[in-house]
C-alpha cells in the first residue's frame, strides 16, 4: 500500500515555495501519491521524511543482487502472481550444494562440474547461477578452505551455508569482495549474522521455523537497519513450500507486507535425482527465487533451465529474429534456399539443422510476428502469396543459379499458391527440421 497524498503532505516542509514544480506542498504530495513526480524534486525535505517515504515507495519485493562481476545475478522485484498478467522478471537462480568436508579433489571436481553446467540453445546461453558451500564440517577452517578451493575452480557466485557466525566470518574473509549470499540468520543468531552481513555488505537469508517466525526475524533485522535480505520460510516438504511461497508472494504484492517482501530461497528436499528436479521445477513455476539442488547432473539441469527460460519469457513478446536472408555456411550460387518464419525457436531449429547438414544454404526468414510455422499459417501470416512476394523481393534470384525453394513439410499446402505467384519451384521439405540433413543429401542438386 502506497501512502496517500495527505500522509505524504504531513512529511513535507509545508512552506509552499514552489521549487518542486507545482505551486504548493500539497499539490506536490498529490502528484507524488500518483507517482507523477519524484521526491528529489523538493530540495528541502528532511532525512527522516526521505527514509519514511522511500520505504513506502520501495517495490513490494526487494531486489537483491548476489555475486559481483560478470556472473552476478538479481532476484526479486516481481510484481505478479500469474505470468499472464504481465510477466515474471528476474529468473529463478539455480544452484547446487557442495559440502565442505569432502576431500580436496572431490570439492574441486564438483565445483568444476557445477561451473560447466552451461548450455546453448536458440542462440541463448543457459547457465546455473551459484554454488552453495555447506559447512557440514561445522569447522571454521575447513569451511574457509573449501570456499577458497571452490573459488579457484569457478567464478560463479557463492552461497555460504552455515548458521555459525564464527564459521561465516572465517569464510567471508576469503570471499567477501565477491558478494556471496549468507545463509542463514535464525532466531538465535540473527544479531551476529546481521552484523557480519552488514560489515561485509553481503545479502543475508533469514530462515525461520515457519512463516510467522521468519517474518518476525526479518522485522527485527530491518529494525537493526539491514534490509539486504532473502527468506526461507522453513516449510516442511514440497507441498508446504508451495503454500508458503504462494502466501509470501500474495502478502508482499497485495498487502505490501514488508516483513515478507523479500526474494525466497528453497533447498530441494528429495534424495532421488528425478524427484529433486521435479521439486526445483515446481519452485521455478511457483515463486521460488533461489533454488538449491544436490546433484549437478546435466541431463536434468538442461531441461530445468529451459523450463525456467519458458516461464520467465514475456508472454507479450515471443522471442523473435529479424526477417531477411541469412547465409548459413560458405554459400555459393548452387546453394539451396529454405524458407521459414521469424519465431526465434523456429529459426534456430532450422538454422541448426542446415548447419548440421554440412551443405551451406540460404535461409529466407519471413516476418510472422514471431510465430511458429503452423501458428503463423493458421493465423494467415505465412501464406503462399506472402512467401512468393518475399522470395521475389529478397533478391535471391541474383544470388543463386536455380529457382528452387524448400518449404516446411508442415505447410506443404502452400506449394500451389507459391508456384502460382512467382516462378520459383517449390520442394516440400520434411515436417521436422531434424529431417533436413538427410533430405538435402537425397534431394539436392542445383
Amino acid at each position: 500500500m502506497g501512502l496517500t497524498g495527505l500522509q505524504i503532505f504531513k512529511l513535507l516542509p509545508k512552506t509552499n515555495c514552489g521549487e518542486c514544480g507545482p505551486p504548493t506542498c500539497l499539490a506536490f504530495a498529490m502528484e507524488l501519491a500518483q507517482q507523477k513526480t519524484s521526491l528529489d524534486k523538493c530540495p528541502y525535505v528532511s532525512e527522516e521524511a526521505k527514509a519514511e517515504l522511500g520505504e513506502a515507495s520501495a517495490p513490494p519485493i526487494r531486489l537483491i543482487t548476489v555475486g559481483k562481476g560478470e556472473k552476478e545475478f538479481q532476484v526479486g522485484d516481481e510484481t505478479e502472481l500469474f505470468r499472464h498478467d504481465k510477466t515474471f522478471f528476474n529468473e529463478t537462480a539455480i544452484g547446487f550444494e557442495l559440502e565442505d568436508n569432502l576431500e580436496e579433489k572431490a570439492i574441486r571436481d564438483k565445483a568444476k562440474t557445477i561451473d560447466g553446467l552451461s548450455f546453448e540453445r536458440i542462440g541463448l546461453e543457459l547457465s546455473v547461477n551459484l554454488v552453495a558451500v555447506c559447512n557440514t564440517s561445522q569447522d571454521a577452517e575447513t569451511f574457509a578452505k573449501a570456499v577458497s578451493l571452490v573459488m579457484e575452480e569457478t567464478d560463479l557466485p557463492l552461497m555460504l551455508v552455515t548458521e555459525d557466525p564464527t564459521c561465516a566470518a572465517a569464510a567471508l574473509e576469503k570471499c567477501a569482495s565477491s558478494r556471496p549470499l549468507l545463509y542463514a540468520a535464525n532466531n538465535e543468531n540473527y544479531e551476529e549474522m546481521t552484523k557480519i552481513a552488514d560489515e561485509n555488505s553481503c545479502p543475508l537469508v533469514v530462515r525461520g521455523e515457519n512463516l510467522e517466525q521468519t517474518a518476525e526475524i526479518t522485522d527485527k533485522i530491518a529494525k537493526l537497519g539491514y534490509r539486504e535480505l532473502m527468506i526461507d520460510p522453513g516449510s516442511g516438504g514440497a507441498g508446504e513450500y508451495l503454500e508458503d511461497l504462494t502466501q509470501i508472494r500474495r502478502l508482499a504484492l497485495r498487502k505490501k507486507f514488508r516483513p515478507l517482501g523479500y526474494p525466497t530461497v528453497v533447498f530441494t528436499g528429495s534424495e532421488d535425482t528425478y524427484q529433486e528436479v521435479i521439486e526445483a521445477a515446481v519452485y521455478t513455476c511457483k515463486y521460488g527465487n533461489v533454488v538449491i539442488m544436490k546433484e549437478p547432473d546435466d541431463w536434468k539441469t538442461f531441461p530445468l533451465l529451459i523450463l525456467r527460460q519458458n516461464i520467465y519469457t514475456d508472454p507479450q513478446k515471443p522471442i523473435q529474429v529479424e526477417a531477411g536472408v541469412y547465409e548459413i555456411g560458405e554459400v555459393d550460387e548452387n546453394s539451396p534456399v529454405y524458407v521459414t518464419t521469424n519465431f526465434s525457436l523456429t529459426y534456430f531449429s532450422v538454422m541448426g539443422e542446415i548447419e548440421a547438414s554440412r551443405v551451406p544454404g540460404y535461409l529466407l526468414i519471413v516476418d510472422t510476428e514471431g510465430t511458429s510455422v503452423l501458428t503463423a499459417w493458421a493465423a494467415g501470416k505465412f501464406d503462399g502469396d506472402k512467401v512468393a512476394e518475399e522470395l521475389v523481393q529478397s533478391g535471391l534470384e541474383d544470388r543463386v543459379n536455380h529457382k528452387k525453394v524448400i518449404i516446411p513439410g508442415q505447410v506443404a499446402v502452400l506449394r500451389a499458391k507459391i508456384e502460382d505467384n512467382c516462378d520459383w519451384e517449390v520442394l516440400i521439405g520434411p515436417g521436422e527440421a531434424t529431417g533436413i540433413p538427410s533430405f538435402i543429401r537425397k534431394n539436392w542438386q542445383a
Partner: protein, 317 residues
Amino acid sequence: MAIPVMKESWQSKVLEVVLGATPEKGGTRGKTITIGGESTLPYLLSEGDIPNRPQVAMEVWDIAPDNWEEQLMEPFADVIEDPAAWAQKCVEEFGADLVQLKLMSGDPEGEDAGPEDVEETVKKVLKAVDVPIIITGPGNEEKDNLLLPAAAEASRGENCLLGLAIEENYRTLAAACMANGHNIIATSPIDINLCKQVNILLSEMDVPKNRIVIDPTTGALGYGIEYTYSIMERIRLGALQADKMIAMPFLNFVGEEAWRTKEARESAQEGGDIRLGISWEILTAVNFIHAGSDLLVLRHPDSVKQIKEHIDVLMGS
C-alpha cells in the same frame, strides 16, 4: 509475529467427470476413475479441496510406432505388435491408471485400416485390462469420423473417453459418444475463447458438461510450454470464478509432445542418455500439473513412476 492471512475462497469448482463403468453400471471395468472437482488452485490444500488426484495414462498404439527412438521402444519391445499385451503391461507392470488407445493403423497414409479392424482392437484391449480407456483416432478428420463411431460402438457402455473433438469437426464424434455412453475430449488451440466455443458447440448438441474433458493443446518443454501453462491457469481461474463453460477438467498429451522434441529424441537414440528425454517428459508434465492438469498421458515408464510419486507428495499420501 501475527501475519495477515491471504486465503482465497472461490465461488465455484471444477466439474467432476467419471471415466469407466463397472458391471453395476453396465460396463466391465474393475473400477471407475473420477477426475476434476477442485475448489482451489493447484495443491493449495489449505484453501479448498482436491478430491481427486490427477491420473496418469500411458499410450498404447494399435500398430508398432515407426517413429519412436530405439531406447524409448525398449520397455515395450516385447508387446509392441500386440495392443492388448501392451495395454496389460502398462497397467500391471508400469502402474498406469488408464490407457490411451491410439488408432494409428487408420492413418490413410499408413495402413489405412478400416472400422472392422478397429472394432476388434478396441474389444481386445477392453478385455485385456479392466481400467477405463481413452480412445483417439489417427488425427485425420475423415478417418476419425469413420473409425471413432465404430470404436464407440465396440466399447458401448464402458464410459470411455473419446477424442478429439475440434471446432471444425465434432458432430460425428459427439453423436457417437452420446449414443454409446462415452465422454468426449474437447480440443482447442491454446485459446480461452476457442476452448469455450468448443464446449458450447458440444453443449448445443446436448453433451452434458460433466462428460467433457478439456484438451487445451499441449506444447512441449522448450516448444511452447509456457503458452499452454498460462492458458491453463487462465481457464482454471475462470472455472473457480464460476464460468461453467470452461469448468471441465484438463487432459494433457504430454508424452507425444515431449518425445517429438529434438532433444528428447536424440537422447533416446543409440548411445544417448535417455534420462534427458525422461526429464524432458517429466518436467513438461510437472509444469501442467501445477497449472491444473487432471489427466496426463505419458510414454516412458520411468516418467509414470516419477510423476505418480510427485502426485503422492502433493496429495500428502
